[in-house]
């Protein structure tokens, strides 16, 4: 009986295990093999070259290294969006949870989350027009004409990266707000009543009760948004139209892999990205017991 149930249970988990092995484990091993060699896609010639592809990416003596460094710097600057969006979401949720918004908060939550439902493509297309800067063949952009400024948002590095950070902060603020709001509603009123008895003011209640109780959500948002940002592609490809100043690491992988047919360099870059994300995630989990409240 016990043995039979064990067999059936294993049968139930077999489809995902097989699928995972075929579509993730084997490709992962192949990615290592490709990255450790020189792979010619035209005639499928393969020569083992050790870690030289990784060395190329990490040294500044060749074009790969320089381009890769550029992509890494860009990708890291995309990450600035994460704390801004989380902070804006926290403010919005706190305000929506305030007494004065009892009747209106449903509408605000509905509206502020709306952009998260729209696709990245549509959102990038529209934001591109908003940041357009009258450069080559573009018409005047919305921001520049609204504020009567002439910033070359889509053509210079710092404005371009700033534009990406601004648009991503605004777009991902909604999901942070919804999660924070839901979590705030779950905080027991007892804590606040006890704080009232002790004569705590609003700010103290926020920093001593609300914020600590929300740390699991903050942690979740950090993990999800960070790994999302590090894998961004549409920002570089659609919003920045592939401009060198805003190419991300995934754009680099796509460009060298599927555009230039240099699978080995692309795979090596992808593995470096994977290791980086894994390390960041593990470090975050390790550090989490210092600041995340264990509910």
């Amino acid at each position: 009986m016990e043995k039979k149930e064990n067999r059936i249970a294993f049968l139930f988990i077999l489809p995902p295990i097989i699928s995972f092995t075929i579509f993730t484990i084997i490709p992962l091993i192949c990615a290592f093999i490709i990255a450790l060699g020189d792979f010619n896609t035209a005639n499928f010639n393969y020569t083992f070259v050790g870690f030289s592809n990784f060395a190329k990416l990490l040294s500044m003596n060749n074009s790969y290294g320089k381009t890769f460094l550029n992509c890494v710097v860009n990708t890291l600057s995309f990450v600035i969006e994460v704390p801004i969006a989380i902070f804006l979401g926290l403010i919005a949720a706190t305000l929506a949870n305030a007494k004065g918004c009892k009747k209106t908060n449903r509408v605000w939550r509905l509206l502020i989350y709306l952009p998260a439902v729209c696709s990245a493509v549509a959102s990038n297309v529209i934001w591109r027009v908003i940041f357009m800067d009258g450069g080559t063949a573009d018409s005047a952009g919305v921001i520049n004409s609204l504020l009567h400024i002439d910033v070359r948002w889509l053509h210079e590095r710092i404005p371009l990266l700033t534009a990406i950070i601004i648009k991503n902060s605004i777009n991902s603020m909604g999901s942070a707000m919804i999660l924070y709001y839901a979590s705030m509603c779950n905080i027991s009123k007892d804590y606040y009543e006890a704080a009232d008895l002790d004569g705590a003011n609003g700010l103290q209640k926020f920093t001593k009760i609300t914020f600590p109780m929300l740390t699991p959500v903050t942690f979740y948002l950090l993990i999800m948004r960070l790994s999302g940002c590090l894998q961004s592609y549409a920002d570089s490809y659609i919003f920045a139209a592939g401009r060198n100043e805003a190419r991300s690491v995934v754009y680099f992988i796509w460009f060298y892999g599927l555009h230039e047919y240099n699978y080995s360099i692309a795979s090596a870059a992808a593995l470096l990205l994977g290791v980086a994300i894994m390390i960041i995630t593990i470090v975050q989990f390790r550090l989490s017991n210092r600041w995340v409240l264990d509910l």
């Binding site: 995902p16 896609t41 305030a98 007494k99 709306l114 999660l179 549409a234 599927l258 992808a270 994977g274």
Partner: protein, 315 residues
């Protein structure tokens, strides 16, 4: 906002009429009433301020969308003459008709729906089946297999891109929807994990009783677990649906031309029509590509937001 103004006046009048009486009797209540009144005014100003800030956030967030919708109905020459015109005099549907000269958006809808319909029911079934085994059945090396599957969540898609592309090329799957369907038919780790958490909350006695009655394990899953799991299934499927609808990276790699999904067509419309300066046409395409999801969101808003919060808090 107007309502708040009215409320602001009323309490003041009320306290003003009551105050002299209280002052006659003793000093205590006056102090208390003064404080109450101050708190009330503070509360009203607080409410106005909070709502104003939230309104500002909403405008910030919605402006691009509103701009997109309005501009999609504007004449192109008109648009190029004056980019921002939120109350245009002349509205036209020409842009929506012009889309078809660039991309076949109807095919895009169809291609996206084919993937949705092929993947979601099958993927959900197998995720639930595996979750049932993990949550309710006796299984040797259970935690090992769970960790094995969960480890997949750590691996970014880009790492697997080259080997997968190569394999699909050999199989002749490029420019077919198969690369976007087959890998997702039997495994959806985050959904499975969510189902496991959800099933843990369902009492095991139900299944023990069924087992005594001679119910087979698979029937237990089908007839007892699946119906109980429906709320969790609905919550997860709506986000899976949205994920596939908005998926771009993989779709853009494997699909092109008439076989492309809606989002890939949208991106190529941006390149062709947008490249020749026909921005209102691009906007109309963007409106059409967002419309179904926005409509679903507005109709199911409560369910949407609730599902999102339980998904994150538990998963």
């Amino acid at each position: 906002m107007e309502k708040a103004e009215v409320n602001k006046v009323l309490p003041e009048q009320m306290t003003a009429t009551v105050e002299p009486k209280a002052a006659e009797t003793n000093q205590g209540p006056t102090e208390k009433q003064k404080r109450d009144r101050r708190d009330k005014i503070k509360g009203i100003f607080g409410a106005i301020a909070a709502n104003l800030v939230l309104a500002f956030f909403s405008i910030l967030v919605l402006f691009p969308l509103v701009f997109m919708v309005i501009s999609s109905f504007r004449d192109n020459m008109d648009y190029l003459g004056k980019v921002i015109d939120l109350f245009p005099k002349k509205l036209t549907f020409d842009n929506y008709q012009l889309i078809s000269t660039y991309v076949n958006l109807g095919r895009g809808y169809l291609n996206t729906m084919v993937i949705e319909i092929a993947v979601i029911p099958c993927g959900t079934f197998f995720a639930a089946l595996a979750a049932f085994a993990f949550a309710k059945l006796k299984l040797r090396h259970k935690s090992f297999w769970l960790l094995f599957l969960l480890s997949g969540m750590m691996i970014p898609g880009a790492v697997l891109l080259m080997p997968r592309y190569l394999a699909y090329q050999i199989l002749g799957w490029i420019n077919t929807p198969l690369p976007l369907i087959v890998p997702h038919l039997f495994i959806h780790v985050s959904m499975m994990f969510f189902f496991i958490q959800y099933m843990m909350g369902i009492p095991s006695e139900l299944f023990e009783a069924a087992k005594i009655d001679g119910c087979s394990t698979f029937r237990m899953f089908l007839q007892i677990m699946l119906p109980l799991l429906l709320p969790a299934i609905a919550a997860q499927c709506i986000f899976w649906f949205m994920g596939i609808w908005n998926e771009y990276f993989a779709a853009s790699i494997y699909l092109s031309g008439d076989n492309a999904t809606l989002q890939v067509m949208m991106a190529s419309l941006n390149q062709t029509a947008g490249g020749s300066g026909l921005f209102p046409v691009v906007f109309s395409g963007a409106v059409l590509s967002c419309l179904p999801m926005v409509a679903i969101y507005l109709v199911l808003q409560k369910f949407f937001i609730k599902s999102m919060s339980i998904g994150a808090v538990k998963g």
